[in-house]
Amino acid sequence: MAETERHDYDVVVVGAGGAGLRAAIEARERGMRTAVLCKSLFGKAHTVMAEGGIAAAMGNVNAGDDWRVHFRDTMRGGKFLNNWRMAELHALEAPQRVWELETYGALFDRTPDGRVSQRNFGGHEYPRLAHVGDRTGLELIRTLQQRIVSLQQRDHAEHGDYEAGLRVFAEFTVTDLLREGDRMAGVVGYWRESGRFAVLRAPAVVLATGGIGKSFKVTSNSWEYTGDGHALALRAGARLINMEFVQFHPTGMVWPPSVKGILVTESVRGDGGVLRDAHGRRFMFDYVPEVFKESYADSPEEADRWYTDPDRNRRPPELLPRDEVARAINNEVKEGRGSPHGGVYLDVASRLSTEEILRRLPSMHHQFKELADVDITAQSMEVGPTCHYVMGGVEVDPDSAASAVPGLFAAGEVAGGMHGSNRLGGNSLSDLLVFGRRAGIGAAEYVVGLVRRPEVSAGEVDEAVHTALEPFDAAGVRGGENPYALHAELQQVMNRLVGIIRDGGEMCSALEQLTEIRQRAVRMTVPEGNRQFNPGWHLALDVRNMLLVSECVAAAALRRTESRGGHTREDHPRMDPNWRNRLLSCVLRGGELELSEQPQEPMRPDLMRLFSREELEKYFTAEELGVLGEPSRKR
C-alpha cells in the first residue's frame, strides 16, 4: 500500500479507557511524544460504564483499613492464584492514585469530615470503594480525559499546537502490531470513518484494550470487548495467562430480553440489598463456603447488625466474592426456585428508604424504570449472572508492565495475573490507575534506553492491510459467511459450553465447534457497502480476534481439572492445592495455539506471614508452607 498515512511517536497507547489514559498521561509527563488510539469516540471507553467504585485502602471510613488488609482481601478473592507482587503494588499504590485524581479535578462523594467517602463491596473487609453515586467510572474517565486536555492546553501554550505532544486518534482500530525482529516497531490500523489505513511508528506500544465479553451471548460488555488486545499480543509473540478465568457477575438484568446481561451494580448489595428466591427467602446463607465461614454471618439477624456494627458481627453472605454469589444464583434457578424470567430477586426496596435509594443508586433507579418498567424503590429487581470480566490476559512484569516482547506493555483488563482466579469488585478501576501509570513509566524508560529505533517494514504493513481487506475480496463469492451470523454462533457456543458451570465433555465439543467456525470464518464477507464506516466489515475483523481468544479460554478451561474462582468444573468440583501454583499459558506458534503449564513464582515469606497458617493451609500444599518454618509461628 503505497499511500498509507504515517505518523511517528515515542509511545503508542492502544485503548482510551482508564488504563490507557493513565498510561498516556504518564508517558507524556515523562516527555514522550504519545498517541492514544481507541475504537470509539474519546471518553466512551468501557471504563465509563463502571458503577460501584474504586478500591483503595485510604481508611477514611474505617481507620482499621490499610494496604495489608486490601492485599489479603485481593488474594482471598483470587483464591491465591494472583500474581502476589501485582496484588502488593496494587494495594500499596491505589490510595495515591485516587488522591491524584482529585488533583486532576475529580469530585468524589465525601465523608462528613470532608474526605473521600468509601462504601462496602463484596470481598472487601472494610468500606473501601471511593465512589460518585453509582457512576464512578464516568467520573474516572472524564477526569482522565480532562487531564489529557489540560496537558494538550499546556502544549498549545508552548508550541501553538494542541497535539504537539499528545494526540488522541478516536475511532481508529488497530488491526496489527508491527515488529522489527522480535521488537515492537509500531502499529497499523484503520479509521472507522473512512476505512483508510494508517501506520504509527513507535518503539513502545502499550496495550490497554480491555476485555473479551462479546464472545459470550449474555454479557455486560459492549461491542468493543472483542479481545483485540489479547489477540494482538498473541500474534506479536506475547503470552496470555489465566484465560480460563472469566468472571460472571451475579447480577445482570434478565428481563426484558433486549437488556439481558446489562449490569446491576454490586453497590445495591453493598448498600444493603439482599437476594431472595421465588418464595422470598434469603438463600445466600446456604452458600457460604468452608474457606469463608469465619467471616460471613450465618443468620439474617447477624447480617443485618453488621451494617451498623461491623466490628462485632460478621458480613452478610450477599457480599461474598462474585464467583460464589453467581454460582449460588445459578443453582437456585436450576433447582426451580428462580423468578419468572430465569433469575432471582434483588431487593433493596424493603431495605432502604426511597430517598436513600435515589441518592445512592440513581442510575440503577433510572435504568430499571426506563428499560424494565420496574421501580426499584418499590419492587424487587430480577437478576441473574452475566459475563463481565476476564481475569486472564497478557503476562507482564509486575513492576514495569512489560510483556515478553521487547517494547510491548499491557495494563488494565487486557493484562493478566493481578486478580488471580477472580477479581473483587472495585479492584479493576484501581488496577487501571496503578498499572496504567506503571506501564507509562515502563514504556518511557524503555524508549529512553534505546540505542536505535526499530523500523517498520513496508512488507509487513502491506500484508496487514491486505489481510484486513480480505472480507471485501470475498464479497460475492459463493458460500461467503455473514459476520453477524458467525458472531451469534460463537456467542452461543461460549455461553452454552464454556459458561459459568463447565464440563470436560462440553468443552471438547466447544473446541470442535470453534474450529469449525474458524474454518468458515476464512470465508467471511462484507455483505454490503464500502470501507466507509461499515459495521459489517468491522465485525468481520473483530470475529477473528474473538475466535482466537475464545479458543484460549476453552482450551485452558478444559486443561484445568479443578474448580477455582471464575472457573467452575462440574466434573472437578474441588479446589486442588496442586493447581494453585500452576498457571496455564497460551502462545501462538505457526498460527496454532499452544497451551502449556508454568509454575507460579512462590510468594515472598513476609507476604505469606500476613495470613494465619490455618488460612494458608486451605490453599497451599504442605511443601509450600515449609518456608514459614515451624507450624506454631502464625503471623
Binding site: 468501557h46 460504564m49 487531564r147 449474555v218 430480553p257 426506563e370 428499560l371 462484507v526
Partner: protein
C-alpha cells in the same frame, strides 16, 4: 447439557411469542447525499430503538452506521433524532410509540453527517479544549483535599454529563446557524465552565465567568431551556449552570473593584 441462567433464549419474534412488525424510516447516506428509507422489522417486548437498528444491521443492512457502547444510557454514544426529537436511541422504548406509527430515525441535525446515523461531532471536542482545565490549589498535597458534600454537589450535578451532545444538537443558537459555531460553545461547555467555577478548590487565576461571556458566547443563550428538556441525565443546565453564570457576570458589572482586579488574568 449444563443448565445455566445465561442459557435461556430470548424470545424471538419469529416464534410468534410476542414479536410484531414495526415500520422504521431511517436516514441512509453519507455526507450531504442521502434519503429516508423505509424498513419493516421484527420487534419484541421491551425493545428500544437501538435494538431495532441492530436487528436491521443483522438482517437487512449490514453496513448501517450507528454509534453505541453501553446500551444503558451511560456513555452518550447513541444519540440521534427519533421523530425529530433528540434522544438516546438505547433509552427510547418502542412502547412509547403507537404500534401503527412509522418511527423515523435521523442523525443529529446540528452536526455534519458522516454516514447514516453517525455524525461528525468534532465541534464538541474542539470546544472542550478551549475551556482551561482544573487548577489544583497550591500547597495542598494529594490526600489533603477537604471538601463538603453540599459544596461538591453543585458541580457533581454537571459531572453527570455523559457527553451525548443532545443539548448541543437542540440549542437553536447553533442548530440552524452554522455561523454561530465559532463564537458559541453550546450548553454542554458553558456548563463545563460553570462546573469549574463552582468547584470548591479550583485555583484558576483567570475569570471563568467572564470567559464564558467573552470566549464561549454565553450572551447568545437566551435561556429557552430547550437544552434542559432533552438532557437524558436530567441535568438542569439552564437553571443551575447558565443562569447562575449570567448572574455572576451581572453582579460583577455593578461592582467595579473586583472587576478591575480580575482583568489582570
Amino acid at each position: 447439557m449444563t443448565a445455566t441462567v445465561g442459557n435461556v433464549e430470548p424470545l424471538r419474534g419469529r416464534n410468534g411469542a410476542m414479536g410484531q412488525r414495526v415500520r422504521l424510516r431511517v436516514w441512509r447516506g453519507s455526507g450531504d447525499e442521502g434519503e429516508l428509507r423505509d424498513y419493516e422489522v421484527e420487534a419484541e417486548e421491551g425493545e428500544v430503538v437501538l435494538d431495532l437498528l441492530h436487528r436491521l444491521q443483522a438482517t437487512h443492512c449490514p453496513d448501517l452506521a450507528v454509534r453505541w457502547n453501553c446500551k444503558a444510557g451511560k456513555c452518550g454514544s447513541c444519540s440521534a433524532e427519533v421523530n425529530g426529537r433528540p434522544r438516546l436511541t438505547c433509552m427510547t422504548r418502542m412502547s412509547l410509540f403507537d404500534p401503527e406509527e412509522t418511527v423515523t430515525v435521523t442523525p443529529m441535525r446540528t452536526f455534519p453527517v458522516i454516514k447514516d446515523l453517525v455524525c461528525d461531532v468534532s465541534y464538541n471536542y474542539v470546544k472542550a479544549r478551549e475551556v482551561p482545565g482544573f487548577t489544583p490549589p497550591a500547597g495542598v498535597e494529594p490526600g489533603q483535599y477537604r471538601m463538603w458534600q453540599r459544596d461538591v454537589e453543585r458541580s457533581q450535578e454537571f459531572r453527570k454529563c455523559i457527553e451525548c451532545f443532545l443539548c448541543q444538537d437542540t440549542c437553536h443558537v447553533i442548530r440552524d446557524h452554522e455561523e454561530n459555531k465559532e463564537a458559541f460553545s453550546g450548553p454542554r461547555f458553558l456548563m463545563r465552565v460553570a462546573e469549574l467555577e463552582m468547584h470548591p478548590l479550583d485555583d484558576y487565576d483567570g475569570d471563568r465567568a467572564e470567559e464564558a461571556r467573552g470566549e464561549h458566547g454565553l450572551g447568545l443563550c437566551n435561556i429557552t431551556k430547550c437544552c434542559t428538556e432533552v438532557c437524558p441525565e436530567h441535568i438542569r443546565i439552564t437553571d443551575n449552570a447558565l443562569i447562575p453564570l449570567k448572574e455572576r457576570l451581572a453582579d460583577r458589572r455593578y461592582d467595579p473593584i473586583p472587576w478591575l482586579f480580575r482583568r489582570r488574568g
